[in-house]
Symmetry: C2
């Protein structure tokens, strides 16, 4: 596709032919040609939003342009294209996001607004699109394919049906289907995925993948379904295998994970790396403010030994080709004039950024501000979690093993005592369900029982593990108070479904109080990590009042908070102010933890499509098998 859909180019042709003057000429620069892999002195003439001519220094035969811009021997490189990210993860609205990343040289992003889609469905996606249009950054959208991530494993704020997807695919900003995380659904030809893929294939659009650790027949099946890309490689072998099999591999360095060193090592000796691009996926506002955006990933890649022009190509020409952009990602006549002047080829902050021929940012400052306030576009979110108001709402009540025989344990499941709390958990909602308290066997009021315990970042890896442990029971409830390595984790639907589940977690680092938040991929339900149930309820209540965000409570007092009233996941603030708030929140909550961490450290603990073990509002999920551990 041509991003510039202007069908009458006669004025541009006039300018290139020299019949009318160009608007701007950038002179005295070293042009990084990402098509051929060369660097040479050049001057670049711009008319309107396009590059009209690229000439040797002093060799331009066109009339004097409107303005001459002296690059003072800086490198001229194309604007960066981020191949996969969720704007919502920055906690900035799309317009504030644009203001934040343009000074770092990002000129195009392909976003999957599946966070807001999980909160408010198609309406959220359309509001993001509308808000993005108020700033010049090119924000393309992929229709969120898995909302909720896996409908059998969780409840969220919205469900996008294949028919919703079909309608979204017709939106002019939409390039295709966003990360298809339900790889199991794809490989099994399940109806939701099959129908969505059909819509995207029918429209001949891009199909973005998400296939962590997928290999062998499952990966082949996933590719055969039409999936084009993946951004979940964690090892060199995984990266090389996927590249060989024709996938566009988007290497990432996010605020949550960074496997650049490993993945780049795996493809170091590959002669052609055209299908490699870079992305940020999920990054903090703070990271953007202090370290940059895609340029940071470029710089890290260079740091890992990638030749600078290769790394820049990953972030420009390769990215453009991945999406079929015919007029982005290189510096050539007829291409859109999205350009950066950089002093060194190291991923540092550009001196100047041009977008569509306009000087858009200089020396870290965005020269364009969002024209309108985002607030009216995103009304404050209502948090609905009545299930927390019931007595004994938190914690895990004991259940007799003898009752377990009725729960339909699946063939092949280990013969173990399984325990997680769900809404249907007797003893929690007895008033609602009408079931008698006597559902709990008296002998389990005291003693111990086997409970499934989550392990935060097992072996220091990216995913959570878990296993059954014998934990003490007091007063009919699992008691973690004597084990300082444990906290409770509770996931609570915040959109009124009433679902809720809890499990102990080992290794989270939480040593006191409660830490609650609504930024929890992808359902963005309320998650509370706590040592103290009363603190947990107070944190939840504070979050309800904020309209979403973060709250930390200790000893009955709110220690810190961060309001994210846009869908419970984004702020109304621009990047500088938000980053300050985040910094203050992280500083003020440090005392709750035994080791330092950032705001998002638990953001994927409820993401049902990851490998490992995940807690959703319906229980503990075995991510590899994509099913609930206890089958309840």
């Amino acid at each position: 596709m041509r991003v510039s859909n202007h069908t009458d180019r006669s004025r541009l042709v006039d300018a290139a032919a020299g019949r009318i003057p160009c608007d701007l000429r950038i002179v005295n620069c070293r042009l990084a040609n990402v098509i051929t892999g060369e660097i040479y002195p050049a001057e670049v003439s711009i008319f309107g939003q396009w590059i009209a001519s690229v000439d040797e220094t002093g060799g331009c035969a066109l009339p004097e342009p409107g303005r001459i811009f002296d690059a003072e021997d800086a490198y001229l490189i194309p604007g960066f294209i981020d191949t996969h990210l969720h704007v919502e993860s920055t906690m900035l609205t799309p317009s504030h996001f644009a203001e934040a990343v343009l000074p770092w040289g990002t000129t195009t992003v392909v976003t999957d607004p599946h966070e807001i889609a999980n909160v408010m469905g198609t309406e959220g996606v359309l509001r993001m699109a509308e808000d993005s249009a108020s700033m010049p950054l090119r924000q393309f959208i992929l229709a969120p394919s898995c909302v909720p991530a896996n409908p059998a494993l969780e409840t969220g704020g919205a469900v996008l049906t294949p028919e919703d997807i079909r309608r979204l695919l017709e939106h002019p900003q939409v390039l295709g289907l966003g990360e298809v995380m339900d790889f199991d659904g794809v490989c099994q030809n399940e109806s939701r995925m099959r129908e969505e893929l059909r819509c995207a294939l029918e429209a001949d659009l891009f199909l973005q993948g998400h296939a962590p650790r997928l290999e062998g027949p499952a990966l082949a099946a996933y590719l055969c379904a039409g999936i084009d890309s993946d951004h979940e490689c964690r090892s060199g072998k995984e990266c090389l295998d996927k590249l060989r099999l024709g996938m566009h591999v988007n290497l990432k360095s996010t605020s949550l994970s960074n496997h650049l060193a490993q993945t780049l090592e795996g493809i170091r000796d590959v002669p052609w790396r055209d299908n490699v691009s870079l992305c940020t996926d999920d990054v903090h506002a703070q990271t953007i403010l202090t370290k940059g955006h895609l340029n940071r990933v470029v710089g890290e890649a260079i740091g890992h030994g990638v030749p600078p022009l290769d790394a820049i190509r990953f972030a420009t020409f390769n990215a453009a080709r991945e999406y079929g952009f015919r007029d982005l990602g290189a510096i050539a006549p007829g291409f859109l004039a999205d350009l950066q002047l950089v002093r060194e080829l190291d991923g540092g902050q550009p001196e100047h950024v041009f977008l569509g021929g306009q000087l858009t940012a200089s020396r870290g400052q965005c020269l364009i501000r969002p024209q309108e306030d985002s607030a009216p576009r995103f009304p404050r979110t209502e948090i609905r979690m009545e299930q927390l108001r019931l007595p004994g709402a938190l914690g895990i009540s004991a259940e007799a093993e003898k009752d377990r025989g009725m729960s339909g344990r699946k063939c092949g499941e280990p013969e173990q005592r399984v325990f997680t709390a769900t809404e249907k958990d007797r003893g929690m909602n007895c008033q609602e369900s009408g079931e008698p308290e006597s559902g709990i066997s008296p002998e389990l009021n005291e003693g111990s029982m086997s409970v499934f315990v989550l392990q935060y970042k097992e072996n220091g890896g990216p995913f959570n593990g878990g296993r059954f442990e014998k934990l003490p029971v007091h007063g009919g409830r699992v008691d973690i108070s004597q084990d300082p390595g444990l906290c409770m984790m509770c996931v609570c639907n915040r959109y009124g479904s009433g679902e809720k589940a809890a499990a102990p977690m080992r290794g989270s680092g939480l040593i006191r109080g409660a830490y609650a938040f609504t930024v929890s991929h992808d359902s963005h339900n309320l998650v509370i990590l706590y040592r103290d149930a009363a603190d947990a309820l107070l944190a939840a209540e504070r979050i309800r009042e904020l309209g979403g965000g973060y709250a930390a409570v200790c000893g009955g007092e709110v220690l810190a908070e961060l309001a994210l009233p846009v869908g419970g996941i984004m702020s109304y603030l621009p990047v500088q102010e938000l980053a300050e708030q985040i910094h203050a929140f992280e500083r003020d909550t440090a005392e709750l933890f035994s080791f330092p961490g950032n705001l998002l450290r638990f953001a994927t603990c409820s993401l049902s499509v990851l490998p490992g073990y995940i807690l959703t509002d319906r229980g503990v999920v075995d991510g590899r098998r994509q099913r609930l551990v206890d089958g309840l």
Copy 2:
């Protein structure tokens, strides 16, 4: 675009996942991975038309397939994609063309049927499309953009209006606009080109270029108009410049010209050559039969020092990306199974060729024959050239220099005597025009005069030159009989327009008789080269009877002939028989010439968009300036 537009891939997914068996597995091969640039042992499982799985040798976990094909350690490479050609130049119908090229490993071609379009307009294009569908070769079409090549400079058999183009662009086989040869019209924003480009840009389609020697502002303007590619590079510098400026460069080796050595030398040290692909443009049936098709160009590139895998990539993955084919040009799950098994990576004939998973050719034999006869699809052509029946129809009559002052010489034209014959040429059509014979000044009946003389392949280069020479006049007509280095060239509209022009030509090699043909790019008017006017008229008459083709006459006898009744440019015969006929024709006409040459040696002498000097049915054209030399 995905070439396979199947939207329900569930059966393929089943096969890749191992739930149903694949149809075929190619084992024991060395896979040439044109995505990564690696070669390694592999086995490839195929289901239906697709590659379902690519595995290490012995590593495939899928059930036993329907058939196992032992590659016996051959290389498995993707089928070749020819990025630019005119099927008509082979003189084969599209179905016979498919039969001819499939054994050479070509599985996809992008054709510009502008030869047939010049003969019979949209109807010709549609018949080509229909005929191509009877064979499995993937034949994509570009809508001929310049029919006629330059409407001011010639008349042909048809005119394609921008509205015709718009309708053609909606045809499912049509990828975009075919070689935009009227570069001057593009750069000047002339209405025909501007309107056609608008249609193609509106539909966001491919715009194929044709820009011989274009550089500087003209090239920039051409690119800014939206042109994507070029296949006319003749020097290394031209090739490098175009590549740097973002053009897809299609390197060619045709039956008419071969600049592979020069162009490849120019880009030898370019690190990334992703935008380089290969094409055949215009090739003989005979060349195909004896030397191959795109594989021949691959082999030549390797011979010029291109690493074999690079050359194969030019002809596969790079070509697929040029057109945005997402599932062609590489060997990976979900890609179409267009494959070749080759013993060496040298461009030689493949041992076996698979197209869409079917074994289609083996050891030089196409295993599939055209299902139907092409003849009913292409009725025999009527040749209409009444203008040749007039007395004194051939030759150049003299005209007084004093009359020339009235002919509106353009500003900047050199003050020279200009002479070419046109329909309006007094003394030729006096009976029709009613102008008196006395229009010729008596003093020019004898003596000499300045006439524009064409120079065949000036300085051994690809283009014809020309200059004014003083030639003798006898009986009111230019007389070449005493100069053995000269022949007459006459171009005669054969579609009934009545236009006709003639000029002497130096260096053609014709030493006696007459040599006439209707394969004359792009208008395919009748061209006669002759030393003897009576032989010329007999040759023309024979061609009329054949319905088009070639005829050679000497001493009042037809020496050889080749019938091309499909539009006057193609045969009904399959490649073997046609090649034999061509061989016989070339053999039998050798005595007319002082040096050897092939059938197509004069095929572009009437192509008005080439640089140099060209004779059309309206007169001598200055190709660089795109105007008639004498302005008549």
